[in-house]
Amino acid sequence: MNGRESLVSLALLSITLGCATAPSSEEIAANAAAMLKSSFKANGQASLDRLKQDETQALCSQLAGKPPSKEVAARIEKINRDAIKYPADGKLLGDWKNGEKIAQEGRGKQFSDDPAGPVGANCYACHQLAPQELSFGTIGPSLYQFGKLRGYGADTQRYAYGKIYNSEAYAACSNMPRFGHSGILNEQQLKDVTALLMDPQSPVNK
């Protein structure tokens, strides 16, 4: 090793020591919080509040892609299940035709979207639903014949509504947004999408 190299490695060593060798997880977490703050700016309807995580988001982020432990999953599912609000009128099924429109609509909540414009659920981005629509994604399972396969009973209706309202109540750290819980869809829209899955007349069940 010549003199220059050893100087460089000495310099490196001192930096390394300064950071207590490899950065610790706590250090990374603290730096990550600072980084978030300095790296985003509010734009239109997308305010910086959106970076404040609730407990579910924080717990799922920490897993870095691995499935949650039994305890964590139970915790997430409980707090989310407790937060589901079912319609006061007890009716869970709306108009499947409108539900289909909501399932097709990809806009809403982006900073580029008109805040007064449509907000959809973009279901087809991730799921197969009506077989006529060939352009569907595969992040979520196929929902073709959702009601036909499971039956059209009250329990299944309640499950479908609850799953769309708050997916985390049934599958901790699911990729699916919590459409009711997070205020993406209103109650009527939630009913309409539930009808798309559960109405025997819906093309999903043909």
């Binding site: 097709q104 990809g106 982006q110 979207d113 973009n122 981005a125």
Partner: protein
């Protein structure tokens, strides 16, 4: 640069662009209208006009590759027509002697449509067609 080219005799804009842009032809909506504007009779179907590098499905209608080769002797010009576009005629290419009757370019398509390759050869018109489906990918947002 332009002056230099002109001085060198490279640039003869008056000759090269002698033919005025055929406004009427670019504002037609169906084959009969287009043929009238181009000054030709109804074209005959031809198997000697071939599409190449032209997909059956275009992922995005903003850019649809189209390649057309004519095997008809004395091909003078090739035109691209898109049935369901707001205006049917997309482009015409005059093929001087010595240039192969083969062109390739990219066009916009508003929706799934038939594409016509119209060839003028020895004063007569010939046509071949191909359907190109246009899908819209992505998140739709």
């Amino acid at each position: 640069m332009l002056a230099l080219l002109a001085a060198a005799g490279w640039l003869k804009p008056d000759a090269a662009h002698a033919q005025a842009w055929n406004k009427a032809a670019f504002e037609t909506h169906d084959m009969a209208e287009t043929m009238k504007a181009l000054g030709g009779a109804e074209p005959a179907q031809s198997k000697d006009i071939v599409f190449f590098q032209t997909p059956d499905i275009a992922e995005n209608g903003a850019v649809v590759p189209i390649g057309i080769a004519s095997n008809i002797p004395k091909t003078d010009s090739i035109a691209i027509l898109i049935e369901k576009n707001p205006n049917m005629l997309a482009a015409t290419f005059d093929i001087p002697a010595g240039t192969e009757p083969t062109i390739s370019t990219r066009v916009k398509m508003g929706q799934t449509s038939n594409i016509y390759a119209l060839v003028k050869a020895d004063g007569k018109y010939y046509v071949a067609s191909k359907e190109v489906k246009v899908t819209l990918g992505g998140c739709g947002g």
